[in-house]
């Protein structure tokens, strides 16, 4: 009996290792070892175009990091431009998609609603389509002859159609700049502070807000992600017992009271998850930029992930590797800040 148990144990051990080997090997070879390799490259000057092997690449210390973060250079300007664009993107998309998803989930969860399955399917459908295909469809809709411009042309008096993604003037103008312009404020009339340089950009440039082109990409992304987040909220709503609302109704709570004082607090763990996933995802925005705008117009849709890609394509592999770790750091930092803020409440 004991001997049988022992062989059983030995067999489990062998089986355990064999069963885990393929997955662990793939993760090690294609995630962990490459990260160490990239860390090494980020401290060296190396390019796949040169004939020098990785092992003989000249060591440059932190230069690849410094040239992008601190040393005044064209690399630094592009880095902070990407940080700025990406930050507006994150701040615009994450709150909007989270709130809309929650609102939509609550509405779809209404007891009287018929055809819930249909609505759930309809809202989720965009999430399963290819980002490349959907980006191209939206790119067409954003053309001056495209659907969105043509509809606005008929609905808004005095609207002039323009290519939202590619127009070098209006497409590249920030939303905040657009609003300020209505009050007669431009970089020339705003005062001396506007032309002050900070990290390679003027202060005026920093406060631009997302450009029209970037906003167009934001709208596309909210449109595609909304359904997925709504489903996550719907799953969580199933666990909220109905009697909570009945009791609140007896106490005379209004619908908006119930939403803000019952639903929102009860769903806090889900919101935390949705926001975290949102932050991690939005800092990584790449596909839509690659397909639609390639960083233009005037670099206003240049994001960090896209900058990594262009640096790698231009054989600045060391800079690209360093930038990947900087982006990793930014994502961690933002996730931590968000956790801290939500934990304090």
């Amino acid at each position: 009996m004991l001997a049988a148990l022992r062989t059983r144990r030995a067999e489990d051990m062998v089986a355990g290792y064999i069963f885990l080997t393929p997955s662990v090997l793939i993760l090690a070879v294609f995630i962990f070892i490459p990260i160490l390799l990239a860390l090494y490259v980020s401290f060296h000057t190396w390019s796949p175009a040169s004939q020098v092997g990785l092992a003989n690449a000249p060591f440059v210390g932190l230069e690849n990091y410094a040239r992008q973060i601190s040393t005044s250079s064209i690399e630094r300007t592009n880095f902070y431009r990407a940080v700025k664009n990406n930050l507006y993107y994150v701040l615009g998309v994450v709150p909007t998609q989270t709130f809309l998803a929650l609102l939509l989930a609550v509405i779809v969860n209404q007891k009287f609603l018929k055809g819930r399955t249909f609505f759930r399917t309809a809202f989720y459908f965009p999430s399963i389509t290819s980002s490349a295909a959907i980006s191209l469809i939206f790119l067409y809709m954003y053309q001056s002859n495209g659907l969105i411009n043509q509809v606005l042309d008929r609905v808004i008096p005095g609207y002039t159609p323009f290519n939202w993604i590619a127009d070098p003037q209006l497409g590249a103008t920030g939303l905040i700049h657009l609003v300020l312009r209505q009050f007669g404020l431009t970089i020339r009339t705003a005062g001396d502070w506007a032309t002050t340089q900070a990290l390679g950009l003027t202060l005026w440039d920093w406060i631009s807000g997302p450009s029209v082109a970037m906003t167009a990409i934001m709208l596309l992304n909210i449109w595609t992600t909304l359904g997925t987040l709504m489903l996550i909220y719907l799953a969580a709503l199933q666990d909220v017992p109905g009697y909570v609302y009945e009791a609140a109704a007896i106490d005379g709570a209004s619908n908006s009271d119930m939403f803000w004082k019952i639903t929102v607090p009860l769903l806090r763990p889900t919101t935390l998850f949705v926001v975290t996933v949102g932050i991690i995802g939005t800092w990584q925005i790449f596909d839509q930029v690659y397909v639609m705008s390639a960083g233009g117009p005037q670099n206003t849709t240049l994001t960090l992930a896209f900058l990594i890609w262009t640096r790698m394509r231009d054989f600045s592999t060391g800079l690209a590797a360093a930038l990947a770790f900087i982006l990793f750091g930014i994502i961690m930092l933002f996730t931590l800040i968000q956790r801290r803020i939500t934990a304090e409440r």
């Binding site: 993760l27 090690a28 390799l37 490349a132 469809i137 659907l147 007896i250 592999t317």
Partner: protein, 298 residues
Amino acid sequence: MATAQTKTAALPVETIPGTERPAWLERLIRVITYAALILLALAMFVPFIYALSTSFKSLPEASQPGIAWIPAVPTTAAYERLFSAGFGRAAFNSFFVAFWVLTGRLLFNSMAGYALARLRFPGRNLLFGVIVASMFVPGVVLIVPRFLILSQLGMLNSYQGMIVPLMTDAFGIFLMRQFFESIPVELEEAAQIDGASRFGIFFRVILPLATPALATMAILSFQGAWNELIHYLVVTGTYPPLYTLTLWLAQLRGTGFQVDWPVIMAGSMLTTVPTAIVFLMFQRLFIEGVSYSGLAGQ
């Protein structure tokens, strides 16, 4: 929903007259809710309908301003141009890569999931930690590392380079582990007494039971591999014969003065069709997958 309703029914709730809304208001709220939802649902489909309509237009018609839902002179010219531009090859690549990614994940993820759920051996927690850690690496951070390792291994511009790195994923492993933990141990013990080995138990007893979980993973893997862009771009971005549909579509836009919108819309529609079919056939599994990811995240 079911639980919520039964709980409500179980509690005798007194309704105080006056807190209830008047019937007309209640009706108005319902009408507005339906109207808003239907409008939004329409907004979800409009881009696809617009793209479908454009794919049957001639190039001059598609470049004109105006809103035409039905092509003035419907033509399949765009689809013909699409096939002469290399659509077939790209479609084959997409199917081929997605098939192997899916196969790999079904096998490797379920094996790993089973080991973590049922087998006891030294180093198990460490390996579990390694798999968990892989989930915390943001995808785009891997652009450079993946390029480096694939170039060192000589796997750039190859199917292996496109497929092998995607053949397992932590999410799928957890999905399977979760499922295996819900299978009663007695089933395995019975098989053990009959003298079956661990491998025999896994392949003959456990895997057949895991069909629902395997189906969920299969469709999520297919969809993921089919829609993937950046990984293929890194592996084979400069080698058109291996372009998948997503990569091929992205290049289709080109840099020419006049963009061939009907062709691009036709390509986008055909790229969407396979995932749309899979989705409409296995909706429930998609929705379970998403709900699982949400609950797992907490």
